[in-house]
């Protein structure tokens, strides 16, 4: 009786093992593409994942030049799936998020040319954010261009903001994930 039960358990385990192998094989085809080099050795490389933003740097995102009502900056940056010569082999979807902190009465507009996300911090609410999303195809070099305009409206000119009493911080976060 015990022998029969043990054998049954072993068969179940073997079947389960086979299922896991099959599933793994199928999944690898869906989620990542493997390349194989011919030669004496066989090897498998995980598909290349590349994501880069061009122009996103503190030196260029210079909102410190905004010091009084009427000042503004326009900052253009790109989201791309190429890093130097490497193009991403995986489709990705990304989110560009702009968050503003502080009591400086900023009005921000983020656009990718066709979509617009606006943030109006007048009167200041200390923290607020807006975002846009996009996609980059697999294996094809693609880039999307975004423009962020940050403005201190000239009519938000109460003297209570002067002499360092208004502080603003702008953060751009670009997050990309592999597309399902």
């Amino acid at each position: 009786m015990g022998v029969i039960r043990s054998r049954k358990l072993m068969y179940v385990c073997i079947a389960l093992f086979c299922l896991v192998i099959v599933t793994t094989h199928l999944s690898s085809g869906i989620l990542a593409r493997y390349t194989t080099e011919k030669g004496g050795d066989d090897s498998a490389n995980v598909a290349r994942f590349v994501f880069d933003t061009q122009g996103v740097s503190a030196a260029e995102l210079d909102i410190s030049s905004i010091k009084k009502p009427g000042d503004n900056i326009e900052y253009t940056f790109k989201v791309c799936n190429k890093d130097g010569v490497n193009v991403c082999e995986i489709a990705q979807e990304y989110t560009v998020n702009v968050t503003v902190y502080g009591n400086m009465p900023f009005v921000c507009t983020l656009t990718d040319g066709s979509n617009i996300a606006s943030l109006d911090n007048t009167p200041p609410i200390l923290t607020y954010s807006a975002s846009l999303t996009g996609e980059l195809a697999a294996g094809v070099e693609e880039e999307d261009t975004f423009t962020l305009r940050v403005e201190w409206p000239s009519d938000e000119n109460g003297a209570q903001y002067a002499n360092g009493m208004a502080i603003g911080k702008v953060t751009i976060t670009v997050t990309s994930v592999q597309k399902d």
Binding site: V3, S6, C13, L16, Y161, A162, T171, V177
Partner: protein
């Protein structure tokens, strides 16, 4: 093979299979994990310095006496804090001067002595963050119609970079027109004229019951007429004697704010 050996063999196979499954699942998990990347950039902004002050106008309610206001009232506007000159504005300042009707800005002069032109309704203190100032003079369009019993409210409001306001209520000292009175004496009447802030012609009329004292150089030419012009200077008092041709008494209490003196009814 005994039953015990067979059982032991099966157990080993099961253990190996379980280990195999765990390894395969671990690899699968790694494959299933999604790729993710994140870029983050941030920068800060802080508002700049803004100071705007005056030698006369204040941010709080205040009053000042204005003497000799007919010739204009002058005050200075600074792009720094006059009580602490180390505090200077970072940016140029645009402002407008707000006056009641009957008053106007006569001139705005910068610290180099140049006239500052008005653009629209706005003057600009240029040159920040250097210390600069403007000298502003305001004047009545017609001093004679100014009601000195009302304080003159003067406001200066900045437009850029920030809105703020300085103001003062001026108390106008002195009348824009002469006052006069007539005192009776036995043989003459004494006309006393207080010109106040007025400068110009004062018309003097008299009836045949009075004759001007032609010995007075002012009235030496007032012969065979009943009207004459007194060329009055500012802040002067003139005393004019008119001899009576009758014994009638004649006098007049102080009459204010007139350029015409009437002697006799």
């Amino acid at each position: 093979m005994t039953v015990r050996n067979r059982k032991g063999s099966s157990k080993r196979v099961i253990v190996l299979l379980v280990i195999g499954i765990v390894i395969v699942l671990s690899i699968t998990g790694a494959v299933f994990a999604k790729y993710m990347a994140e870029r983050l950039e941030t920068d800060d902004a802080v508002s700049g310095n803004f100071y705007f002050s005056s030698d006369t106008l204040k941010k709080t309610t205040n009053e000042k006496d204005a003497n000799n206001w007919v010739d204009g009232i002058t005050f200075k506007l600074y792009n720094y804090e006059v009580s602490n000159p180390a505090l200077v504005s970072d940016n140029d300042i645009e402002y407008s001067v707000i006056l009641p009707s009957g008053w106007e800005v006569d001139s705005v002069i910068d610290d180099n002595g140049n006239t500052v032109a008005k653009v629209g309704e706005v003057y600009k203190i240029s040159g920040s963050p250097e210390k600069k100032y403007h000298t502003v003079t305001i004047k009545p369009t017609d001093p004679e119609i100014v009601n000195v019993s009302n304080p003159l409210s003067v406001k200066v409001r900045t437009k850029t970079p920030y809105v703020t306001e300085l103001s003062t209520d001026f108390t106008l000292i002195g009348s824009p027109l002469p006052d006069y009175k007539i005192e009776n004496n036995s043989t003459y009447v004494l006309v006393t004229v207080y010109t106040n802030l007025y400068e110009g012609n004062v018309t003097v009329n008299w009836t045949n019951k009075f004759l001007p004292n032609n010995a007075d150089p002012i009235m030496s030419g007032w012969v065979d007429v009943n009207t004459a012009t007194l060329i009055a200077s500012k802040n002067h008092t003139y005393e004019l004697i008119f001899f009576k041709t009758t014994a009638e008494n004649y006098s007049k209490a102080l009459e204010k704010g007139t350029k015409t003196i009437q002697i006799g009814d």
